[in-house]
């Protein structure tokens, strides 16, 4: 169905090629996952499949691409639109109609189909993605997950045989992610759809037929999930993580494959492993060793109603102590971002009070608050404006009226902390998304806030960048900063946060230690949140471990191993 014959591509003005000599063959109906670090050429490769490259993105394309046996050289995306559907990450930019049905009709209209046929396709595609009931609504009023499903329906209405999905779930909350994936899985019933999907999370790609891993523009690994199950080390050398459950199996020396936490737990027990005596207590004691300081922030009965009447917060109360590491979890629209915007004065409470070190913030100008509580927004591109990183980071300190000498000192300090020392004279726009995110953190850090709040600090980062960003945040926390993060990445919350606040409909529904909250799976599932795979297995084995490492450390061989004897634990 898709055949690439030594395809190479170099972006205009780039010195290195983004793709070099890529060849492979994808059969009709095959499900293919594309993996790789950011900059490995995943999106570039996907863009060549419908002619976006080289027709809308300039550069030098070599090699030949065949779709269903036909060379697509010279074909623009619009010529291929009825054969290759393309779903982008940014769902906002894909929708432009004033009603759901018209959005879906746009593609078939371009194909010049008769009106009746358009109507049939609109209804059929909206049913497929579960949006039929909303067909008269405005796309602008839908949730993120619904918008992405609408974008999917709009693409399907063109009747493609090939569907290319470029990180379709990266901007979605957990429930939106789950619903979209369900819709995508459901598509294959009754139609021979070939799927090429990019997803940074390998654990999300277990249901593919085949996984292709790119590294610096070349195909590094090409195999079935079963084959990649064995290849954790190879993947790690490429800057990726292996399947979580595969890493667990390797560490325990168990050779079976598991596709669910339930099976994993059963096999682990059957292979002669058990939870060490008092393992949970041991983990809890380690938590308790970290003492928190005095109360910094007290939020009391916070309510917020937006001018259009939306009640975003209805009575949230909590306190934050110096040195804490808090994660706020919940679906989009649950009030997380509205809540943190109050903490540095961007929003003023409709009612309720916030006290900082015992002092009420009521009537304080927001300038004072932003010095005490720094907020790093989700998208660094909403704030970066300077031509040099140094000036970008100096923006906050300069506004505080500090001397140029002190400003320079703070900038150096902040850049050092985020691992960008020496990069001060670069243009921030040449950096990768991960590094731009670091610039945004440095900009906040340079104002020396007591509390640093980060809204979705890991969205759009690859595994390597994510680990780097979270290690940075952890270092800041250990250096005495109080950290609050909002995140949809459950593995991030479990591994790094000490305390978790769960929100729903503008209320705090749970507030406890990360260990306590994550061991209570049903209340997470109630909110549409799924614990990460390692935590799920741990819960089934009866230990409240939060990471794979903690889980492995909590297991020991049973005194009398059941037969057959399993191999020894690998170091």
């Amino acid at each position: 169905m898709i055949h690439l014959d030594s395809v190479s591509f170099r972006y205009r003005a780039a010195s290195e090629p983004a793709l070099s000599d890529v060849s492979f063959h994808i059969r009709p109906g095959e499900l293919v996952g594309l993996l790789g670090r950011s900059g490995s050429g995943r999106s570039t490769l996907a863009s060549t499949l419908n002619g976006t490259i080289p027709h809308l993105v300039r550069g030098d394309l070599k090699g030949r691409i065949f779709l269903a046996g036909e060379d697509i050289q010279g074909r623009r995306p619009r010529d291929l639109a009825d054969r290759v559907g393309f779903l982008f990450q940014d769902f906002e930019a894909q929708l432009f109609s004033t009603n759901v049905a018209l959005e879906v009709a746009f593609g078939p209209e371009n194909l010049g189909l008769p009106r009746q046929e358009i109507g049939r396709r609109v209804d059929q595609c909206l049913r497929l993605v579960g949006l039929y009931e909303l067909r008269h609504k405005m796309p602008a009023g839908l949730s993120g997950g619904q918008k992405q499903r609408l974008a999917l329906a709009s693409v399907l209405a063109l009747g493609p045989q090939i569907l290319v999905l470029d990180e379709p779930t990266s901007d979605l909350d957990p429930a939106g992610r789950r619903d979209l994936m369900e819709a995508i899985r459901g598509l294959r019933r009754g139609r021979p759809l070939t799927l090429v999907m990019i997803d940074p999370e390998i654990d999300e790609l277990t249901w593919m037929d085949r996984l292709i891993v790119l590294d610096r523009g070349r195909v590094a690994v090409d195999g079935t999930p079963a084959e990649l199950w064995e290849a954790t080390e190879t993947l790690e050398n490429l800057g990726l993580k292996g399947f979580t459950l595969a890493r667990l199996a390797t560490a325990l020396g168990v050779s079976s494959r598991w596709d669910s936490a339930d099976r994993a737990a059963a096999i682990i027990k059957a292979s002669g492993w058990q939870v060490k005596e008092g393992a949970t207590d041991l983990l809890r004691r380690a938590d308790a060793d970290r003492k928190n300081g005095e109360v910094l922030l007290e939020v009391e009965d916070l309510e917020h109603r937006y001018p259009d009447g939306t009640q975003a917060l209805s009575g949230a109360s909590f306190t934050i102590r110096r040195g804490e590491f808090v994660a706020i979890l919940g679906q989009n629209g649950s009030g997380k971002t509205t809540l943190v915007k109050h903490l540095n004065g961007i929003l003023v409470p409709t009612s309720g009070d916030i006290r900082l070190s015992g002092q009420s913030l009521r009537g304080q100008p927001s300038m004072l608050l932003s010095r005490l509580v720094g907020l790093v927004f989700q998208n660094p591109d909403h704030q970066i404006f300077a031509e040099r990183i140094r000036d970008e980071v100096a923006f906050g300190p300069r506004l505080q009226g500090l001397s140029e000498k002190e400003v320079a000192h703070r900038v150096d300090e902040a850049l050092e902390a985020v691992g960008l020392a020496g990069a001060g004279d670069l243009d921030p726009f040449v950096l990768t998304k991960g590094s731009r995110q670091r610039v945004a953190v440095a900009s906040t850090l340079a104002t020396k806030p007591e509390v640093i709040i980060l809204d979705e600090p890991t969205t759009g980062l690859d595994q390597h960048e994510l680990d780097g960003m979270m290690a940075l945040i952890q270092r800041l926390n250990q250096a005495g900063h109080t950290i609050v993060i909002i995140t949809h990445a459950m593995s991030v919350a479990a591994a790094y946060a000490r305390r978790v606040i769960l929100m729903r409909n503008g209320r705090i529904v749970r507030d406890g230690s990360a260990r306590e909250v994550f061991s209570d799976e049903s209340s997470l599932l109630d909110l549409g949140l799924t614990p990460p795979p390692a935590v799920q297995v741990a819960n089934r084995l009866g230990v409240s471990a939060l990471t794979l490492e903690e889980l492995i450390g909590s297991l020991a061989r049973s005194p009398q191993p059941p037969s057959p004897p399993a191999p020894l634990l690998q170091p």
Partner: protein, 250 residues
């Protein structure tokens, strides 16, 4: 937040052909520019408000009341002060100046209200289709509609950027005139770049859905002139005729 003006209601005005509503709007503009004295302009305003009420679109007036009021005040005050006349009222204000100011206020606000009614009762897709039937090239009609659709997106981006920079301590109100202008650079650069990125994405998404394919484009929406359109156009022409008679008969 809904930044579009369209109100999804099934009123009789909504059901009219977009071309009919377009002609009514243009007709009202024509009537408005005919006059400068408040009397007939006020009559026109009443006609427009009745039309707007039939289309259920007057609630949108509340969204732009500050604009309408601002224009009215500015117009009345400035024309009163700067227009010479022969019937002094007080200070340098004359009856002629005041009357001209009130007329101008009703004229401009009336045209805005007329445009507002059109956008409140007509989908952008219908406008595009109407323009195409009036032989405007599809590409041009669609570009016009994208322009309208970009406005809410840009406003949304601007709101986020303002919040992000305020949280870093940016105070737009500080400093003298030059300082205030300089304060806006940290806003304008990200807004501009984000908008550029957005349009680039949009271009890719549009083309990958077949936009611009060299085939005859069909339409899911149906428009056409019905009895109601004929009646409405007849009434509209009658009203315009009446205004023309008032204006040009001695």
């Amino acid at each position: 937040m809904n930044l579009f003006l369209y109100l999804d209601k099934g009123t009789s005005v909504h059901r009219l052909d977009p071309r009919t509503k377009l002609f009514l709007m243009l007709g009202s503009f024509m009537a408005a520019v005919l006059f400068s004295q408040p009397g007939p302009l006020f009559a026109l305003l009443v006609v427009l408000l009745v039309y707007g009420a039939l289309g259920g679109s007057l609630e949108n007036l509340w969204r732009i009341w500050f604009l309408l009021l601002g224009i009215a005040i500015f117009s009345v005050v400035s024309w009163s002060i700067f227009t010479r006349g022969s019937t002094p009222l007080f200070w340098r204000v004359t009856w002629e100046g005041l009357s001209f100011g009130i007329g101008a206020a009703i004229k401009i606000d009336g045209m805005i209200i007329s445009g507002l009614i059109f956008l409140s009762t007509t989908r952008i897709e219908e406008i595009v289709l109407g323009l195409i039937r009036l032989r405007v090239p599809y590409q041009a009609a669609f570009a016009f509609s994208l322009g309208i659709r970009m406005v809410p997106t840009i406003i949304g981006t601007a709101m986020t950027v303002i919040e992000a920079q305020r949280s870093r301590g940016l105070d737009l109100e500080s400093g003298g005139l030059l300082g205030r202008l300089r304060n806006h650079i940290p806003l304008l650069v990200p807004i501009f770049l984000q908008t550029l990125r957005g349009t680039d994405q949009l271009a890719k998404a549009l083309e990958s859905r077949g936009f611009g394919a060299p085939r005859e484009r069909s339409s899911y929406l149906e428009i056409g002139f019905h009895a109601a359109d004929v009646l409405t156009l007849f009434l509209g022409a009658l009203t315009l005729g009446a205004f023309l008679i008032i204006r040009f008969l001695p």
